[in-house]
Amino acid sequence: MANDSNKKITLSQMGYIYIQSQIGVDILNLPTVLHKAAGADGWITLIIGGLISIVFVLMVVHTIKCYPGEDLFGILNSSFGKYIGSIAGFSYYVYFLVVAIYLLTSYGELINQWLLPETPVWLLYILLLISALYTISGGLTLIAKVFTFFAVVLFFISSLFLFGLADAKLIYFQPMGQATLSGYIDGISVSIYSLSSFVLLFLFLPFTQGSHKQKRRVAIGANCIVALFYLYTVLISFSHFGSEQLQHIPQPILYMLRTADSPLITRIDIFVLTLWTVFAMTAFASYLYGAEKAFAKIPKAKKKIINVYSTSLLVLAVSVWGGLNEKNIRMIISFQDRITEYFTLVIPIILFLLSFLRRKDKQERASS
């Protein structure tokens, strides 16, 4: 791991890192999940969820502002004290690990279902792990460069989605406002979780050049780009399939592209899936980076080699164990669902509230 403390990334690089670490494999499922929760109103809940996520981004940015020069673990330590802070840091390690495992296994599952049913899935895990390790071993600057470069893929894929508009029908959005309140709440929480990478801002924002105002603007902008991309995906799949079909289709976007006609090549879904490897890798790499950062903060984890490889081996081992095994993977996913709430919503809110206390602290100290 290169020394990140003195190397800083630029604002735009930070934006791209945020975008790329947010978009993972999940988006392919998002339209179906939203539809399950809120029916034809799923896209409205996504908008609301997107707006709420902006509030969380603001909170995170504000918290970081109050602890200049400290990343997530420094902030946890200074907010909760040394012991509880270390425990919180370690639990974040677990959280990042679980998310990384989830991303890895869901990518393996996706490719296994769509492209390579015969290939052993651990080969895909290893390749994705190697790519991610290669990226993060260059430190934050390399992550920034790689993620910035791969932003091209986002534009390319977005334009491929336009094929779906050929059969789009606006009538599928009708009738609006039919979902129940609990449906709305479900939809909104799904949307917020799908935008939950704002936790990663704790890791990247402190190492970004620029004033606080600029950082806030870029973070919100990046968050909006991701939310709009989600909205675009969801709107296209809703308008292409309609409620009845959506219930039965797990990855509507891919099905949509499968049937799309183009004169040069058929089966655009295969190309999109290949390109999606980029998103899978970047999202996975950011969480792996987070996990390794967290692991480095655990006392006694001094040897760097152990640090890098133990985390990755752990991820690989659990992924192979979970893999395509229905029962094991359910366990991982349900565990993740249970803890996500605390790490993405509860702890950031607590940190935000504590930061006000600290500020008062500081002012008093300054005046006295």
Partner: protein, 497 residues
Amino acid sequence: MGFFKQKKKEPAQEKVIREDKVPPHQSTTSLEKNIAYIKEEMRNSADLKIRLLPDSKQALIFLDDITDPDKMQRYIFEPLLKTDGDIRKIKDREESNDLNKAVTALIGGKAVYLVEGNSTCYLFNVQMDASRAIMEPVNEKVIKGSHDGFTEDIKTNINLIRRRIQHRSLTIKKMTIGDYTESEIAMVYVDGVVNGDVVKELETRISNINTDALLSAGAFTEYIEDRTYSIFPQFLSTERPDKTTALLMEGRIAILFANNPTCLVAPVTFFAFYQTPDDYNTRWIVATYLRLIRLFSFIISITLPSFYIAVIGFHYEVIPEQLISPVLGSIRDIAYPPLAEAVMMVTILEVIREAAIRLPSPIGSTIGIVGGLVIGDAIVTAGLVSNLMVIVIALTSLASYVVPSNEMSDALRILTFPLCIMSAVLGFIGIGFGLLLLLIHLCRIESLGLSYFTPIQFRDVKDTIIRVPQFLMKRRPEQLDSPRPYKSNQLGENNGE
């Protein structure tokens, strides 16, 4: 693993003293002793000529093969006649009391004049000039633009650059590398445009080179480049002074070598290998079109064979309906899997290429016909390789030769192999991972500590992937972090960007 380690004895070796660091050896007043010392030091070399002048009181010593008799006549003997044989009255001479310095001068093409009863050595520069005429480099031809090229003579090369940049801030730093060869190199840059940190970095790296002999520019890069284990060249080599000048004015550093027409330029980006002077001499729309063609052929040259393998091996569905039956027809009777076909064809092509380079040019074209036409046709009729594969490989190698830089084209052709293997194992996903790793690797490479691949800012696209008109290129490349980021003095509001 200390258990297996055996202590190795350092092999004994005498230290070589560089010519410019030899300790002085005081000359004596005896002519005979001085000559004997010089003879001894020169190992009685056959080309060492000692010409004793009348009554053996004076001697002229020189190396026969590197001195010019004409110059000797003009600078030594003619003036000597005019001054009645008194060497001290001749101008244009150096003096020294150090015999070792005299020996060094001898090697450098000077003549040493010794006088009995006088311990001073008189040195005259009578070196023979051996340089070929300035010609256009064979491997970097352009359609329009200047047709001169660097030669083996470093002075001529510096001359060619100085003539193009008429400003006092053009800085030239000379160094010598190699204890035996003492190869002269010259760092050339425009002070005030170049990033000072990069110059310092390059200087420290050069001063850390420790070797007996510096033989080529390629060896030189291996001593100082950032990533020796990468397949991508991190120094741009060129023999064109116009290209060098353009790169210098962007804020890069050129390194010239004595006895080598190659000029290395650093730091460079990946895209610099895709630029030619022609781009700036044609209309910008045409240049942009050609740039895009080159970029396209870059993609073709590394992915086309692997794409073919993936389609045939994994994803038949990708082929449009009307094409399926011709494709199937062509590969039905082929015994080998597509990967073996591809490897076979690529190897054959490389063999033909290598043979054509080594052979003299009249026979070379025969090889092209035998290799290309005969083998290409026979291999399909024999059923070893499908004719689709022949098309694919031929296109691939053509595309790899589009790159203006020779080293980059070599790198691309080798990169085909790992991608082919990946795609034979995992289909499109394999290609995806291969390209992913390749691009991460490219992002990782640095050239003299500056990033090699990413166009960091959007405005850098203006002179990389496309070429916009000159008046829109107001800035130097962002990569270099030049102290003079704008290309002109006028920075009005309309001129800024």
